[in-house]
Amino acid sequence: MTTRRQMITRSAQVAAMLTTLGLVPNAVHAQAAYNTAAFEAKTMSDLTKALGISAPVESKDGTITGPDIAENGAVVPIGASTTLAGVKRMLLLVEKNPSMLSAMFDVSEAVDTSFSTRVKMGQSSNVFAVALMADGKVLYAAKEIKVTLGGCGG
């Protein structure tokens, strides 16, 4: 027979389970809500508006790495890094893609501000690595990559 004490313990367990199932994913989601406006931005001014940041300033402390000429625009390896401390977020932009923003990395203290990935490029264009600093400064480094075969059409 189920006693009152067992019932209470059990309902507490169920509540705890529901919390882990229901509430925790929500909290995680709220922390990193997908910024659709930023990913649909076509120009730098749209993008800075969508992210609520000031216009980027060129900086020598950031570097963007990539090939000078990319044979296949569908896979262009690029990397962004900076030696500066206090970076909050790093963005990778491709100027002439249908949407500029490719990737946005939220940096914590525990990772290096250095990322490499591969992007698609529709045509030869400038690529930017933008660093959003904790003090509100926005810095960028640019590099031109020539593409001989575009990766966005069909």
């Binding site: 262009v76 949407s99 490719s102 990395f105 525990a110 990772v111 250095s114 698609k120």
Partner: protein, 103 residues
């Protein structure tokens, strides 16, 4: 569910370099199929990296990240034997999470 990610995490000094290869179509929503219809966008939107259960990096991606995305980053203060967990969510709500041990 999508194919597993390939994760390699190697310790060098006080840092661990993590390389991840995810298996995903990363359809841009710009391409058209043979019948001229636009193929709907399907891409990874959110990526999370955890070191021993603590989130160290989150990223948001657009459709212009290449097919079968590659990502490299390094985690400070990690050592051999630590766990690196990567997870992603795509715009259709699909999820995938994989774990690797630092070597």
């Amino acid at each position: 569910m999508a194919d597993p990610m390939r994760i390699r995490a190697q310790a060098a000094g006080d840092k661990v370099t993590v390389r991840v290869l995810m298996s995903h179509e990363m359809e841009t929503g710009q391409r058209k199929d043979a019948a001229g219809k636009v193929i709907p966008a399907w891409f990874i939107q959110e990526v999370t990296a955890q070191h021993n259960g603590k989130t160290v990096m989150t990223a948001q991606w657009g459709p212009s990240v290449a097919k079968n995305p590659f990502l490299q980053f390094s985690v400070k203060g990690a050592k051999a034997g630590d766990k690196i967990t990567m997870s992603w969510t795509d715009n259709k709500g699909d999820k995938r999470s994989d774990e690797a041990t630092v070597s």
